[in-house]
């Protein structure tokens, strides 16, 4: 248990480091990008009809973009110490307010997508892993490869046309009620399930082929109960490690789906912020996502640790 507490303490230190690193590196990278930042900010504020040199000059004056870099970065850290993430250069709203809406929507979308993918991927993976090389395995592999080969926007449009336009079961796009989240989440889930079903399948196949599993079978356990008793835990470690990763990749992978389904999420906002050189938005987003990531990692560690009895025994 002491080991675990130390590990979690390490994660806390890590969270602090992430905050410093992310804040500074985002700032530097965005400032290093080519192009005049004032014009970019003006373009994202006023749109392509109204961006001109006068607007850019006004932005430059207002934001003090001519100040030394270190001064600007220092100001951001000083604000951060007061838990103030600043104001979006594009919309003029507080970054924290924007993030609470957008990150909230993305988290909702991601969690629903992950739940859908858990219903689809791992069960299929277990089925195919128990009978590797069978026709089901082959079919599932082809399906997974197909889902990975088709970009999310094509899957999304297909789902939209079938489920929302032809059958009229769900709203095409938008935000507001619970029904709007289903289509984008399903679009994401299909891609996720494609990968997680294969990782599960390989892990299960490895367990099934292992000597201790063969031993369990020799003890007279049926396939299913041998797997439940001995296989499930072992097979789930790589799967959980992978899922922890997926949730993070997911949050950034949602950008296409968010754009397609008009979902006010963070992926979409982040890309716009980078393109529009909205530094406080980029920093704030990256910071929160970094912290979220550290949190997820801690949770993944915890789950893997709890699931691996031998490791527990070996180190106790």
């Amino acid at each position: 248990m002491g080991e675990l507490m130390r590990a979690l303490g390490g994660r806390a230190v890590q969270a602090l480091l992430v905050a410093l690193l992310v804040g500074a590196s985002c700032f530097l990278m965005v400032r290093l990008l080519p192009g005049d930042m004032a014009y970019r900010v003006a373009a994202s504020r006023y749109g392509y009809d109204l961006v001109d040199s006068a607007a850019a000059e006004a932005v430059r004056q207002e934001l003090g973009l001519d100040r030394p870099w270190l001064l600007q970065l220092g100001a951001w850290f000083a604000d951060l110490a007061r838990l103030d993430l600043g104001v979006s250069l594009a919309s003029g709203e507080a970054v924290l307010d924007l993030l609470s809406v957008q990150l909230g929507h993305t988290l909702l979308l991601s969690v629903v997508a992950l739940a859908f993918s858990l219903l689809l991927g791992p069960p299929l993976g277990v089925l195919t892993g128990l009978r590797p090389g069978g026709w089901l395995d082959g079919g599932a592999l082809a399906l997974a490869a197909a889902l990975r080969a088709v970009p999310a926007f094509v899957i999304g449009i297909a789902l939209m046309l079938v489920l929302a336009v032809e059958w009229d079961w769900l709203p095409v796009a938008g935000v507001g009620g619970w029904r709007e989240v289903i289509l984008p989440a399903l679009t994401l889930a299909l891609g996720l399930a494609a990968a997680s079903s294969r990782v599960t399948r390989d892990a299960v196949a490895a367990v099934v082929a292992s000597p201790y599993f063969a031993f369990a079978r020799m003890k007279g356990l049926s396939d299913a109960s041998a797997f439940r008793r001995h296989g499930l835990r072992n097979a789930s470690i790589p799967v959980i490690a992978y899922l922890g990763l997926q949730l993070v990749t997911l949050i950034e992978g949602v950008v296409v789906v968010e754009s397609l389904f008009a979902w006010p999420g963070i992926g979409h906002a982040l890309v716009h912020a980078v393109l529009g050189r909205d530094i406080p938005m980029v920093q704030g987003t990256a910071l929160l996502m970094g912290l979220l990531f550290v949190g997820l990692n801690a949770a993944t560690d915890l789950a893997c640790w709890a699931l691996d009895p031998r490791r527990q025994g070996a180190r106790a």
């Binding site: 890590q14 480091l17 992430v18 690193l21 992310v22 985002c26 990278m29 290093l32 990008l33 080519p34 590797p132 090389g133 592999l141 082809a142 490869a145 197909a146 990975r148 080969a149 088709v150 970009p151 999310a152 926007f153 094509v154 449009i157 494609a194 294969r198 990782v199 390989d202 892990a203 196949a205 490895a206 082929a209 072992n234 790589p238 490690a241 992978y242 990763l245 993070v248 990749t249 950034e252 950008v255 296409v256 754009s259 992926g267 979409h268 982040l270 890309v271 980078v274 393109l275 990256a286 996502m289 970094g290 990531f293 550290v294 990692n297 893997c304 691996d308 031998r310 490791r311 070996a314």
Partner: protein, 258 residues
Amino acid sequence: MSRKRLLGGALLAAVIAFALLGPLHGADPLRQNLSDTLLPPGGAYPLGTDHLGRDLLARLAAGARLSFGFALLAALAAAVPGILLGLVAALRGGVLERLLLGLADAVQALPGLLLVVLFTAFAPGEFLPLYLGLALSLWVEFFRIARNGAAAVMARPQVQAARLLGFGAGHILRRHLWPEVAPLAATLFAFAAGTAVTTIAALAFIGVGARPPVPEWGSMMTELLPYYAEAPLALLLPAILIFTTVLGLHLLAGRERA
């Protein structure tokens, strides 16, 4: 060689043959004909034309050389260091493992998409920075799979016994770690190559990435998306090629007995 590997090899060979033989058809992948747009396959255009009346066969073949090469490059650039570092971390443990884990976290704490978008912003329209940014965010996935898989193996009694008996790291790596990690890594590799191409499509979709008129599978799909109802085949042809590539890679790289 197993039947599966044979099939995988055949699929890959088909894509490579397509890339090599496609240009023999003789059409220029950049030549437009605005009166022949979105034609179905047939006649002078074996696979039809796109929204600017360009020959799809020529474009797909030209794109194959680009996409195929870069996708493999990006996947390799991510897989090799990722797996090696993962195995080293599990084998050595201690400070080195913690350092590497910290590095992986640091990279991953920066959203991968942000990395790719930032990389492309430095050299807009170039493919190399795009794939480099991609490799930089993909390697972590390989690292974690390798390290977690290997760590579980290291805790097994037979491995600990081997260590007590004085077998070297090389032996443990060959006999115990590699067989465990390889199939997972192979799965990831095949998918990472596919991800590389679809990521380009995604970037083009959000308005970042390729410089027209370069034929590349990912950006071709984005360009053709608005015409999904008129020319669904044109939109899906690049996807079919990516599918064949991913499946072929997967079968070829997969474990013999599985």
